[in-house]
Structures are given as structure tokens and as C-alpha cells.
């Protein structure tokens, strides 16, 4: 009998222990066990690959993944996308200009997770040099450069979307990525991005001397230059931006793919074309999220009036396929309720199946470099400078010629700063439709020279916003703080009053 009691008692204790989740187990379940893991070069490489892999998806639960946000942050506040069915509530709220800190598009955790992975690699690498004798300083510098460049790219997105964010530079072991730090200033964030990119530029390789996919999917010096070109354009450092573009152009390593009937297939569907500089490498077993967004769930579609605005119908064209290669059946498909064809088409006519949704997401490509250079030149023009102006115009024309752009969208032969900048902006809208660039392009244009072109940002909404909300949307845009998303409410709540909300969103 006693034995039974003892047994029962033991059982109770056992049950009691297990009822409290992991009562005696102190090691975190959701983080990497730092000290056990980081022992050799192979571990470090695995960690670095983890940084890349985290950019492919596998989102922090309840938030959107990095590749989703890279596209959507650049589009949802701009004009080219619209809703398909009215069920995407958070998108509808953005579309009608009612952005609140609880909106799911503000959740940045996925980005901070990638940043954390980079920080971990950067922290552990040095010690592995001592642990693993076969690991050389040069190899470590290459790894470090990659991690710095990825981290810089992540912060570059964050500062463009939120303006001021916490600048986390140390690794944490917690995967939920709740940030309990105050925000850094815009200058601090920019300085960090600049330093990280400069450091990466020093040590990063030109090529991995392996597959094309590696050179396009891993950070190379060309990727670093591309990020620099974009970053310096954003921070009004046009000469440096132009220099970075020139570095890539002069390498002769990239060129534009043909704007023929195979353009969509070569550039986007197959990916890793001669035009691609940095592409997120999706695979058969790592599908991209875009097919779901634009077809399966069909949350979004192209805005018909905006498409008409950028690609006006040419009544004299007999054959639709001789039109701008980026228009109907290129970027969108009018006959399928204006679906975003760029991500769901296998060819100009055929739809992909869901299992084929492994096309890359192009973060930077050569066309981007050419147009960034044109923009950098235009922004540097003080007065009418026909020589430099013509240089910028030539770059725009290259892009237009490749795409067989319509004469209806030809803006002539401008050489003035204003006209060229507008031309670049419009051409970028056509060239990078739905590639997560539009919002950043128009905001960069509007804010340049102390918000001189704010009206352009307001005018953008005339075609796309609901008529009954348009006046309010335009009024709000007068406050530059409204151009950035609010800090997620969940992070503010968890930060112990360290994180302060963007003043525009404070109630």
C-alpha cells in the first residue's frame, strides 16, 4: 500500500512539474544556444546563411515576412496597387488614409530578426578565429562584410519606412524581437548604414566564383554599391550616389535583358538574368509569398486608372503586344481584373501554377542603377546644363528604348533639373511597377530640397484614393511625420516607455 502512495505521490510531483511549462529548464527554447553552437567556421557560415534565409520568409508569427514587406512597404502607400476585395482591412485603412499604430503593416519584427541574425554573426565571428585554426582573417572579413551589408540594407528599409527606429547593434537571444530600446535619431541611423556599407565595401568579394545564383543571391561588391547608390540618393548625397552607380556601370558586368516577348520570363520568372544585381533566391521548396498575395488570396490588384495614366492606351496600335512591354501582360493583366501579372505570369499569356511561385524577388537590378544615376545627375543640376542634362536623358532613353515605351509617355528632350527629375520618377513607376520602389521614389522626389515637391505626393492620390477621403489624405500629407509609418503599438507597449511614437500618430 505504501508503495502505491509513494508512486502516486511521485506521479503528482511529476505532473505538477510538467504543468508549469519548463519549470526547471532555464535555457531559452526559441533562441540559439550561443555558447554551444558557435564553435567553427562551418557554424559561422551556417549562421550567415541564416541571415539570408531569414530574408526569404518564415515570418515572426503574426507579422509579415521580409520579402512581403520589401514589396508592400514600397507599394501600399503609393498609387499603383489597389484592393481586390474589401477584406484586407489593414490595407483598406492605409488606402483611405487612416493609419494607426495597430496596423499590421507597421510590424517590423521580421526585419529586426534578420538584423539580430547579422548581429549574432558579427559578435561571434571574432571568437571563432581563436577556436577554429583553419578559419582565416580574410574569410572572416568576407563573412563580416556580408553581415554588415545585410544589416545596412535592413536599416535602410526601416529608416525609409519609419524614419527613426531603435538602432540595435548587439545580438539578443530572444526570437520574438521585442525592441526595448529608445529610437535613434535619423542621423545616427544614417551614419550607421553609411559606416557599415563602407566597411563592407572594403572586404566584400567581387564574385563567389561559383554559380550565377550565388553571385546574385549573396552580397557582392556590386550589391554594396547598389545599396550605396540608393542610400546616397535618399540622403541627398548625389555625387556619391552617382559614383556608386558608375562603379557598377563601369564594371561592364551587367546589361539590360531584351524587351521582347520573353522579357517577363527572362527577367522575372527565371530570374538571375544579366540584369539582376541582388535577388532573393526562392526555390522549389521555398516558395515566394507573391503568388499568394496577387493570385491565391488576391488581396491586391493594379489600379486601372493609374495603369491607364502610366500606360495610356494607344488607339493606333493594332497589336497590343507591340506596346510598351511593361504595360498590359507585362506588369499587369487587364483581362484578369488587373491582376499584378509580374508575379503570377509564366509568360505574357500563361498563368503560373501555385507550385511555380519560386521566382526571385529583385532587390536591385541594372535598370535601377541606370535610373538612379539619371536621378543623381538631375538632382545635382543647378541651372540648365545641356551636357549633364543630356547624359541623364540618355539613361532614361535607354530604359525606354528597351521597353518599347509609347510615344504617348515620351516627355521630350528636357535638360532642366525639374523636368528630368519628373521624367525619372515617371519612368521608374513604369519600370519598377509593383517591385516595392514606388513609394520610396515619390517620397524621395517630394522631400528633396526641403519638401519642395510635396504637391506631387498629394497629386498622386487624386487618381487612386477614395474621393470622399481625398481632402483629408492630402491635408495630412502636409505634416512630414505622416510620411512615415507609426512605431508598432505592441513594441511601444512592451518597451517600458522607452520607445516614443512618431508625433503625427500620437493621440
Amino acid at each position: 500500500m505504501r508503495k502505491i502512495y509513494r508512486l502516486i505521490f511521485a506521479l503528482i510531483v511529476f505532473l505538477a512539474m510538467s504543468s508549469c511549462n519548463d519549470w526547471l529548464y532555464l535555457q531559452p527554447e526559441d533562441g540559439v544556444l550561443v555558447d554551444e553552437f558557435w564553435q567553427s567556421q562551418a557554424d559561422l557560415e551556417a549562421g550567415l546563411m541564416g541571415c539570408y534565409a531569414s530574408m526569404l520568409g518564415n515570418n515572426v508569427s503574426g507579422t509579415m515576412s521580409v520579402p512581403e514587406l520589401m514589396l508592400l512597404w514600397g507599394e501600399v502607400r503609393a498609387d499603383m496597387l489597389t484592393y481586390y476585395n474589401k477584406e484586407v482591412t489593414d490595407y483598406m485603412l492605409i488606402w483611405q488614409g487612416d493609419i494607426k499604430p495597430t496596423n499590421s503593416f507597421c510590424k517590423w519584427s521580421s526585419f529586426y530578426r534578420t538584423i539580430n541574425y547579422c548581429n549574432t554573426v558579427l559578435e561571434r565571428g571574432e571568437s571563432i578565429l581563436e577556436l577554429d585554426a583553419s578559419f582565416t582573417v580574410d574569410e572572416w572579413n568576407q563573412y563580416r562584410a556580408e553581415a554588415l551589408a545585410i544589416r545596412a540594407l535592413m536599416y535602410f528599409y526601416l529608416t525609409r519606412v519609419f524614419d527613426q527606429v531603435p538602432l540595435v547593434l548587439e545580438a539578443t537571444t530572444n526570437d520574438l524581437q521585442v525592441i526595448t530600446m529608445p529610437k535613434a535619431t535619423r542621423e545616427e541611423i544614417w551614419a550607421q548604414i553609411e559606416t557599415d556599407l563602407a566597411e563592407a565595401e572594403k572586404h566584400i568579394c567581387y564574385s563567389y566564383n561559383s554559380t550565377i545564383a550565388e553571385d546574385k543571391g549573396l552580397i557582392t561588391i556590386y550589391t554594396v554599391w547598389a545599396i550605396q547608390a540608393d542610400f546616397y540618393l535618399w540622403t541627398d548625397n548625389y555625387a556619391k550616389s552617382e559614383q556608386a552607380c558608375n562603379n557598377i556601370i563601369n564594371s561592364g558586368k551587367y546589361w539590360l535583358v531584351n524587351g521582347d516577348m520573353e522579357w517577363l520570363t527572362n527577367l522575372y520568372v527565371n530570374g538571375n538574368s544579366p540584369e539582376g544585381i541582388f535577388e532573393l533566391q526562392f526555390e522549389v521548396d521555398i516558395l515566394n509569398p507573391y503568388y499568394r498575395l496577387f493570385y491565391t488570396d488576391a488581396n491586391y490588384r493594379a489600379h486601372p486608372d493609374v495603369m491607364e495614366n502610366f500606360w495610356p492606351t494607344d488607339p493606333y496600335l493594332v497589336n497590343a503586344d507591340s506596346a510598351d512591354v511593361r504595360s498590359d501582360r507585362g506588369s499587369y493583366r487587364s483581362g484578369m481584373n488587373y491582376a499584378v501579372w509580374k508575379y503570377i505570369g509564366r509568360t505574357r499569356t500563361d498563368l503560373k501554377s501555385s507550385s511555380e511561385a519560386y521566382s526571385n524577388f529583385i532587390v536591385y537590378r541594372y535598370a535601377d542603377i541606370l535610373l538612379m544615376k539619371a536621378e543623381a545627375i538631375a538632382a545635382q543640376l543647378d541651372s540648365d546644363d545641356p551636357v549633364r542634362g543630356a547624359e541623364a536623358l540618355e539613361l532614361i532613353k535607354m530604359i525606354r528604348k528597351r521597353a518599347n515605351a509609347s510615344t504617348l509617355t515620351d516627355e521630350g528632350e528636357p535638360t532642366s533639373k525639374e523636368a528630368l527629375m519628373t521624367y525619372v520618377l515617371n519612368e521608374r513607376a513604369r519600370e519598377f511597377a509593383f517591385e516595392g520602389k514606388r513609394w520610396f521614389d515619390i517620397l524621395r522626389y517630394a522631400k528633396r530640397d526641403n519638401y519642395k515637391r510635396l504637391q506631387a505626393l498629394k497629386n498622386m492620390y487624386q487618381l487612386c484614393a477614395p474621393a470622399t477621403k481625398l481632402l483629408s489624405i492630402q491635408s495630412k500629407l502636409n505634416d512630414p511625420d505622416s510620411h512615415y509609418l507609426p512605431i508598432p503599438q505592441t513594441d511601444i507597449d512592451a518597451s517600458n516607455e522607452q520607445l516614443v511614437q512618431n508625433p503625427f500618430y500620437e493621440e
Binding site: 487587364s334 470622399t468 481625398l470 481632402l471
Partner: protein, 598 residues
């Protein structure tokens, strides 16, 4: 004994286990079913900001319902707002206000609906206040700050405070109900003397001067006021000038119609309502205003009429949406009036929809596209989830005799698409015969039979998908066809064209003999217009035409190409429509040897 021991063991076990399990949970001793507060309680908890409003609620005996469960939106003025209000009214405190005034003040602050900021549009709220009038909302940029205002003057302090029975928005100004009627408002506003005189002269002043009261049903009005300055720019400097311009011998009540054309009766239309209704009936009998937006501008009567653009008249948005006791006023930037129009025939190519025109890869391009409800602003069908098709080019066997060689291809039967409703182009007041241009399937019992409804009223004719004119070798005359409720509506320029002068007379003779048709054994007899009835159009503007399928089996296709509205007094058969370019082809031209090229 053993049983007791067993029982004790079980009790001991259950007790111990439950005790042990409890260890992991935070004990919670506060006992309350709800932690949230009610609107009334919110004010009680914040006396430093809302003690006066709370006092107003108590004195007007309205606190009770704000402390009860329900769904309310409350716009609550702060103490500071009340103090400023008292100062401007020249009174010391609320004790000097009557209970009735306080009651209406409260009723004007409360909406029986939960409206958070996402529901606010540039214009009125979705629901009226308990007072009966609507509140308006707007976002403004003043002195470097975004300002949100109610009724254009009351600044919102805190927005979206959610409590159990609704939502509170706090205000820096006290909201007051508007007590002037539309007539009084126009009269008391400087620079509207001609309109005021015209209102009085026509007697409409009194119609717009009725203050709502609980004893009778309120008639709400919307009024578009035109200032003296704007009229002056139009050459009108006095009431006499206005009369001279609009009251002519053949329009003895022209002034009344002119003013009535600026009034919407029984329509409480703020700008946001105008934007979404697109066309509104005025107090002038059978006269409609159209509303269009261009960017942020809202325009009246900005239309294409019979293919010619007529620029519209802008509503001054900054001043408009002015609430009055019995409605809302808008102020115009231009002088608009009724246009005198005469009925004319409308040859409507139904596929020429703006949405299709914007699809360069689809519009009039070879192929078939599936179209879902919602694609068109002006075409819808039942059931909601059914698809219709847009077809173009020679995808039907035989000659394609559709105008522009495109048509809507509709699987038309009660089981698939049971009805389709279209908004017509503008039709001028008059009486019209409706012709529906389709391709039929001869002597097939599977084909649809359909009713036609014009503005919801059924016409006297039935469309029959099997109705054809197969004359087997004979060329039907227009008279024969009309007798059977049909007509040929299209002209194929390839049939009678010649550039050889010697051949022209032969062509004319052939054309006359053959009623300008091609080989009657071919497809021609199947492509024709069916008479869908005669209708009276009472209002100039767009109307709805609906086709409802009552029968039809597998393969019952309604191939819709054109709908024609031809005034009954005009020739119903000619001109025909050139299938290549949609132009009109007149019999006189053909008989004179002028053939459209192809």
C-alpha cells in the same frame, strides 16, 4: 472500510492535484464582470476636463442614457471649450441656460452609432445626431499642424476614446445646432441678393424656410447657391437680368425652373453623398444634375453630351457642406441652368465601356475575356458570382457582323446569368423605340426568352434568342422585317464598295435590289436588332435597362452588340451602323454612290 479508504484516497488525490495545479496561475481576486467604463463614467472620472459637460448632462437629464449600455458616439466639449462658449454668449455659467437649450446641445453632440475616425469621410457622418442634423468632418492643415474639425469649426482634441457603450471624441469648441433655414441662410449671407430675390419671387423661399419640428415630417433640402459675383460674370446683374435670360416666351415659368434646378428636395446631400450618387434629381420636374470629380474638384454637369464635351461647374468645397436647419447648402463657382435639349437617336455599342477601353490587350482584340461583377461601373448582372464574357473578332463561325466585331457573350438562362442590367448613355426626354442588336440561333428551342425592363418597368416585347429572319434566297425588305419585330442594324462596307467608276451604278442597283444586304443565305439573317418595346423617357439623363432571362437551355447565348434608342418619330431602319468603324451609313449616300471605304 476499504471503500472509505478508497474514497479518501481519491479526495486526497483530487485535492492535492488541484492545489498543485493552481500554483502556476496568478491568483486574481478582483471580482467584476467588466473592467471597461461607460461614456458617462468617463466624464465622471475626468472632472478636470469635463466637469462642465457632466453638469450639462445632469441638468439636461441626459446622463442616464450615456451611462447605460448602447452604442453611441459622443463629441464632448472640454471645460475650456465651454468657458469660451459662455464668454462668447455673454453668460456666466450653464445655470443661465434653459434646460431645453441644454438638451438640444447634448442631442447635437451625440450620434446613436459607433463612429471611429476610420468612418469619418470628408463630409457628413454616416448617421445623424440625436438632434436630427448631421455633423461634418474635415482634416485641415493650419499653422503647420494637422487639424481635425467637426462642422468646420469645432477642433477635435482627442480622437477615438473607446468605452463600453461607444466612442468619445473630445472637442475644443462647443458644437451648436444650426437654427437658420436654407432660405434664411442665403438671405443673411452677403453677396447672394439676386438669389434671395429670385427665391422670394418664385415662392420657393417659403418651401426652403420650414424649420423642422416634431409635429410634422421634415422635408430636407439640398441647395446650390450662386453668388451675385458669379452671376455678374455671366452677365446677370439683377433679378430682371436673370428673368430675361431664363424666362422666355416659350418658357413662361423659366425663373421657377431655374431656381428649382438648384434645389434637391427630400435629399440631404453633402458633398460626399453627391460624389457617390453621381446623378441627382432636382426639384425642377424631370431635370437631373450630374456630379463628377476631377481630383479634389467636384463638378456639376461636367458631361459628354452626344459625343461633345460640356465643361462643368465647380462646387466651392471650402465653403460648401454648410448645414442649415432644414438641409445643406453648397456654394457654386459657376452659374448652371437647365439645358433645353431635343430627343435624338442613340446608337449604343454596349461594349464601348470605359473599363474595357482601358484594357488595350483586350478591347477589340481577338479573343475572349471573362468578366466578373464589379468590372464595370455601369453593367452588373445576377447572380453576383457569375461571369460574362467579352468577345472580339472572328471567333464565331461565319461572317462576323457585329459592330466593331465585338460583343458581350452571356450564358443567358435562369441557372447561369439570370439578368443583366446596364446604365444607358444620356437619353433626352422623349419617346423611344428600343432595338437590341444580337446574333440569334434559328429555330432552336434551347434559346433564351427574355423580358426587358426600362427603369424597372417591363416593356411590351419579349426578346427571343431563336428569332431570325431566314428568307432563303430572298432579300427581306425593311418593312417585312419591321413587321416581324426585327431590323437590320449594321452595314458591312466590304459588300458594296467599289473604286471603279464604271461599277458604281451596278453597285447601286444591286444594293437597292438587295436592301443593301449581303447574300441572304449567309449569316445576315441571324445578326439583327429585335424590337424590345417602346418607352417614354421622362428625365434627361442615364437610365437603366435590364434583361431578365426566363427560359433557355445549354448553349443559350445572348450575344449583345448594340442597343439603339430611336425616337418614335424618326426612321427606325436608317442610318445603319458601319461594322468596321461604328459610323452611321445613310441610305441616301449609298443610293448616290457614296460608299464608305473599307
Amino acid at each position: 472500510m476499504k471503500r472509505i479508504q478508497y474514497l479518501l484516497t481519491v479526495i486526497f488525490l483530487v485535492g492535492t492535484i488541484s492545489l498543485v495545479f493552481q500554483r502556476c496561475e496568478e491568483p486574481d481576486y478582483v471580482e467584476r464582470t467588466n473592467y471597461e467604463i461607460l461614456i458617462g463614467e468617463f466624464f465622471e472620472q475626468h472632472p478636470d476636463s469635463f466637469s462642465i459637460f457632466l453638469d450639462v448632462l445632469k441638468r439636461s437629464e441626459t446622463l442616464a442614457f450615456l451611462k447605460a449600455y448602447g452604442a453611441y458616439t459622443c463629441f464632448a466639449p472640454t471645460n475650456e471649450a465651454f468657458n469660451n462658449y459662455f464668454a462668447s454668449m455673454g453668460i456666466g455659467s450653464i445655470e443661465e441656460m434653459s434646460v431645453a437649450d441644454l438638451k438640444s446641445l447634448v442631442r447635437f453632440c451625440v450620434i446613436k452609432d459607433t463612429l471611429s475616425s476610420e468612418n469619418f469621410v470628408d463630409g457628413r457622418m454616416n448617421s445623424p445626431t440625436l438632434y436630427g442634423q448631421y455633423l461634418t468632418y474635415g482634416t485641415y492643415f493650419e499653422d503647420g499642424e494637422i487639424v481635425k474639425k467637426i462642422n468646420k469649426y469645432a477642433v477635435i482634441d482627442q480622437i477615438d476614446i473607446r468605452v463600453t457603450n461607444g466612442i468619445i471624441h473630445t472637442l475644443k469648441n462647443v458644437l451648436e445646432p444650426e437654427i437658420k433655414t436654407i432660405s434664411q441662410y442665403v438671405e443673411s449671407t452677403e453677396g447672394y441678393s439676386i438669389f434671395t430675390q429670385a427665391l422670394k419671387e418664385t415662392g420657393l423661399y417659403d418651401s426652403l424656410n420650414i424649420t423642422p419640428s416634431p409635429e410634422r415630417d421634415t422635408i430636407w433640402y439640398t441647395f446650390f447657391a450662386v453668388s451675385d459675383e458669379i452671376l455678374k460674370a455671366d452677365g446677370i446683374e439683377s433679378l430682371d437680368d436673370l428673368k430675361a435670360k431664363y424666362q422666355t416666351e416659350d418658357r413662361p415659368n423659366g425663373l421657377y425652373l431655374y431656381i428649382a434646378y438648384h434645389i434637391l428636395q427630400d435629399q440631404y446631400h453633402f458633398i460626399s453623398d453627391l460624389i457617390s450618387s453621381k446623378a441627382v434629381a432636382t426639384k425642377a420636374p424631370s431635370e437631373v444634375l450630374t456630379i463628377r470629380t476631377k481630383g479634389t474638384d467636384v463638378l456639376i454637369n461636367d458631361d459628354y453630351f452626344a459625343g461633345i464635351y460640356e465643361p462643368g461647374f465647380e462646387i466651392r468645397r471650402s465653403e460648401s457642406d454648410q448645414t442649415a436647419a432644414n438641409g445643406v447648402l453648397h456654394f457654386m463657382n459657376g452659374n448652371f441652368a437647365i439645358k433645353v435639349r431635343y430627343p435624338f437617336a442613340v446608337y449604343w455599342d454596349v461594349c464601348d465601356q470605359i473599363e474595357l477601353r482601358k484594357m488595350p490587350g483586350v478591347f477589340r482584340k481577338n479573343g475572349q475575356s471573362n468578366l466578373a461583377n464589379g468590372t464595370f461601373e455601369n453593367i452588373s448582372w445576377e447572380p453576383e458570382d457569375a461571369l460574362i464574357h467579352y468577345n472580339a473578332n472572328n471567333t464565331v463561325n461565319g461572317d462576323n457582323c457585329f459592330v466593331f466585331r465585338d460583343w458581350f457573350h452571356i450564358d443567358f438562362r435562369p441557372e447561369i446569368v439570370k439578368s443583366i442590367t446596364l446604365k444607358t448613355p444620356t437619353l433626352v426626354k422623349g419617346t423611344y423605340k428600343i432595338w437590341v442588336g444580337t446574333r440569334s440561333q434559328a429555330s432552336s428551342s434551347r434559346q433564351y426568352k427574355a423580358y426587358t425592363y426600362f427603369d424597372g418597368e417591363q416593356t411590351s416585347k419579349i426578346l427571343d434568342g431563336a428569332k431570325c429572319y431566314r428568307s432563303y434566297g430572298r432579300y427581306a425588305t425593311d418593312g417585312e422585317l419591321n413587321q416581324n419585330g426585327m431590323k437590320i442594324y449594321q452595314y458591312d462596307p466590304s459588300h458594296y464598295y467599289t473604286d471603279d467608276p464604271a461599277m458604281i451604278q451596278t453597285m447601286i442597283d444591286n444594293g437597292r435590289a438587295h436592301n443593301w444586304l449581303e447574300d441572304p443565305t449567309g449569316e445576315w439573317g441571324r445578326y439583327l436588332c429585335q424590337d424590345a418595346g417602346t418607352v417614354v423617357v421622362n428625365e434627361t439623363g442615364t437610365h437603366t435597362i435590364q434583361f431578365v432571362a426566363t427560359a433557355g437551355g445549354n448553349g443559350s447565348y445572348f450575344r449583345m452588340d448594340m442597343i439603339q434608342f430611336i425616337p418614335v418619330e424618326e426612321d427606325q431602319n436608317w442610318p445603319r451602323v458601319n461594322i468596321m468603324d461604328g459610323s452611321l451609313v445613310y441610305k441616301e449616300d449609298l443610293e448616290a454612290g457614296i460608299f464608305p471605304p473599307y
